[in-house]
Each structure stands twice: as structure tokens, then as C-alpha cells.
């Protein structure tokens, strides 16, 4: 018990609950505010000529990624802390698979339909 502070973390049985540093009401409220701003921006951008028309899809995708980031950080509490390391690695792998499935399908089918003989 007295041989330095590292023993403090060794002595707990796995499964014993302890106080954890958790998020606050404030972080959820900040997240909600940012998410609402991103949502309204998406709807406004798609319905007005605020953005140059061919740039609208890019703008919408950027806003969607920004909002997903807000959700991950403020609602799901993915941070840089040691407890999040494994979750972030798993998320990175999930994002890779999602990216491959969606862009791969779109790319292959677009290529296929451009090589179709005209009907």
C-alpha cells in the first residue's frame, strides 16, 4: 500500500465499479448546440443558392462529417484519454470498411453503367 502511487491502480478487482470522470451536462448542451447549427446549415445550404450550385454536394458532405464528429466527441465521448484508445482504433477500422463499401460500390457501378451499350 505504501510503495508509491502505482499500486493504487493495481489493487482494484476487475468488475468493481468506481467513480469515473464522466461528461457533464454542459458538454451535452454544447454538443447539442453545435449539432443544431450543423443541421440547420445543411438544410439552408441545400435549399438556397448560398453555395455555388456544383459545390453543394461537397458542402453537404463536409457538414455531415462535421456533425458526426460533434456527435462522436460530445455525445459518445470519444476523446484522447486512455480509456478511448481501443474504441478509436476500432472506429478507425469501421470507418475504413464503411468507406470501402460505399465508395467501392458507387465507383464500380458507375464504371459499369458508363460501359453499357446504349439502349
Amino acid at each position: 500500500m505504501t510503495d508509491g502511487h502505482d499500486r493504487v491502480f493495481d489493487d482494484r478487482t476487475p468488475g468493481v465499479e468506481e467513480r469515473e470522470p464522466t461528461a457533464s451536462y454542459l458538454s451535452y448542451t454544447v454538443g447539442l448546440g453545435l449539432a443544431i447549427v450543423a443541421t440547420i446549415a445543411s438544410f439552408v445550404v441545400s435549399q438556397t443558392s448560398l453555395l455555388w450550385a456544383p459545390g453543394i454536394p461537397v458542402g453537404l458532405i463536409v457538414l455531415a462529417f462535421a456533425q458526426i464528429g460533434v456527435h462522436l466527441v460530445f455525445f459518445l465521448h470519444l476523446g484522447s484519454g486512455p480509456d478511448s484508445t481501443n474504441n478509436i482504433l476500432a472506429l478507425a477500422f469501421g470507418v475504413l470498411i464503411v468507406f470501402l463499401v460505399i465508395t467501392g460500390s458507387v465507383w464500380i457501378i458507375a464504371n459499369l453503367s458508363s460501359n453499357m451499350t446504349p439502349m
Binding site: 465499479e17 451535452y28 443541421t39 456527435h71 486512455p82
Partner: protein, 214 residues
């Protein structure tokens, strides 16, 4: 005496090399392990949704002479739907936080708010589906509509399942109290609900907003 003092010390500011989950400092607490396992399930669910998103992205222009998204979608109701789901995600987070801080009445209040907002989302979505089927734009009309109903319907099925699980968890919290096992289930449920909101961000961007201005 020294023993209890050490045990009750809150683990604030753990040095990185001692933090659990990286091999040092002993095994991670059960809460972290359970949340990690559930996180893997959520990512698997995301991969399933990505297949449906890919199918929709590929089939969106194959309307077979039928109505397009721009003719069918009512963005006003989509916006209200989106806000309902976003607010329910917020109240869900606050509810999970209240449960963790052992405030049962506040937890139930936020739980009811989450349930009401989630149900409002489902009602708006079901109304929209019924309106489209009535117009002759059901899932069998074109490949675009098949993909639309599969993707948005699958999200709706998840929301329905989440609401049923919420009733179950609230009943557990009332019957068993906010004990550690119940708190872990609530943590997993809130992860699930937030993940559904993330999927919805993809749905309203790809399906509704990108479908409308084209």
C-alpha cells in the same frame, strides 16, 4: 485506516503509462470492457448500414419513370423529424448522466422525454411512408424506392427496437434500482441511441438533402 483512504481516492489524472487498457496498471474496469464490446457491435451495425447506403447511392437515379426524390420528399417534416431525434439523443445523454449520478427521478424524467421524442420521430416517418405508398410510390414502384424504403425503414426498425429496449431498461431501473449492472446496460443503450442519430445524419444528408436539389 490508510487502506480505506487509498481505496476511496478518486483516480484523477492517471499517468498514461499506468492507465489501464494499455497493458499497464491492471485490467480495465468492467464498465470500460462492456462499453468496448458494445462499441464493436455498433460498428458492425454501421457496416451493415453502409451496405444499404451503398445500395441507395447506386440505385438513386433508377426511378423507372416513377417519381423522384425531389417530387416526393417534404423537407419540412424531415427537418422536424431530425430535430426530434437530435433532441432525444440529448435527453438520452442527460438521462444516462443522471442515472450515473444516482438521481432516479431525473433519470426517469429524461427517459420519458427520450421516449416521447423518439416516438414523435417514428410517427412522422410512418406518416410519410403511408403518404408515399398512397401516392403509388411504394417500395415496389422502382429500384430507387426499394432502396429508399430499405435504408430509411431499417433505421426506423432500429429506432423501434431502441424504444422497446428503453421501456425494458426503465422497468429494470425501477425494479432493481440504479445498481452497477443496470448502469452498464443504460450506458450501452445510450451508445446505441447516439449511434442511431449518427446514422440519421447520413440519411438526411444523402437521401433527403442530396435528393432534393438535384
Amino acid at each position: 485506516m490508510a487502506f480505506t483512504a487509498t481505496i476511496n481516492k478518486a483516480p484523477t489524472a492517471i499517468p498514461t503509462e499506468l492507465a489501464r487498457g494499455r497493458g499497464g496498471g491492471g485490467p480495465a474496469p468492467k464498465r470500460t470492457v462492456v462499453a468496448y464490446g458494445f462499441w464493436i457491435f455498433i460498428l458492425g451495425d454501421m457496416v451493415m448500414f453502409s451496405a444499404l447506403f451503398a445500395a441507395f447511392a447506386v440505385l438513386r437515379s433508377n426511378t423507372a419513370g416513377g417519381p423522384t426524390g425531389a417530387e416526393l420528399f417534404d423537407l419540412r417534416s424531415v427537418f422536424i423529424e431530425t430535430m426530434c431525434l437530435l433532441l432525444s439523443s440529448y435527453t438520452c445523454g442527460l438521462g444516462a448522466l443522471s442515472a450515473e449520478r444516482r438521481k432516479p427521478s431525473r433519470f426517469l424524467l429524461f427517459g420519458v422525454a427520450t421516449f416521447v421524442l423518439g416516438s414523435a420521430f417514428l410517427v412522422i416517418e410512418a406518416t410519410e411512408f403511408a403518404r408515399m405508398v398512397e401516392m403509388g410510390a411504394g417500395p415496389s414502384r422502382s429500384a430507387f424506392l426499394s432502396a429508399f424504403f430499405t435504408l430509411v425503414g431499417m433505421h426506423g426498425v432500429h429506432v423501434t427496437g431502441g424504444l422497446i429496449a428503453l421501456i425494458y431498461l426503465a422497468a429494470q431501473a425501477i425494479a432493481m434500482g440504479l445498481q452497477p449492472a443496470v448502469l452498464r446496460r443504460l450506458l450501452c443503450w445510450s451508445l446505441f441511441w447516439h449511434a442511431l442519430d449518427i446514422v440519421w445524419v447520413g440519411v438526411f444528408t444523402l437521401v433527403y438533402l442530396m435528393g432534393d436539389f438535384r
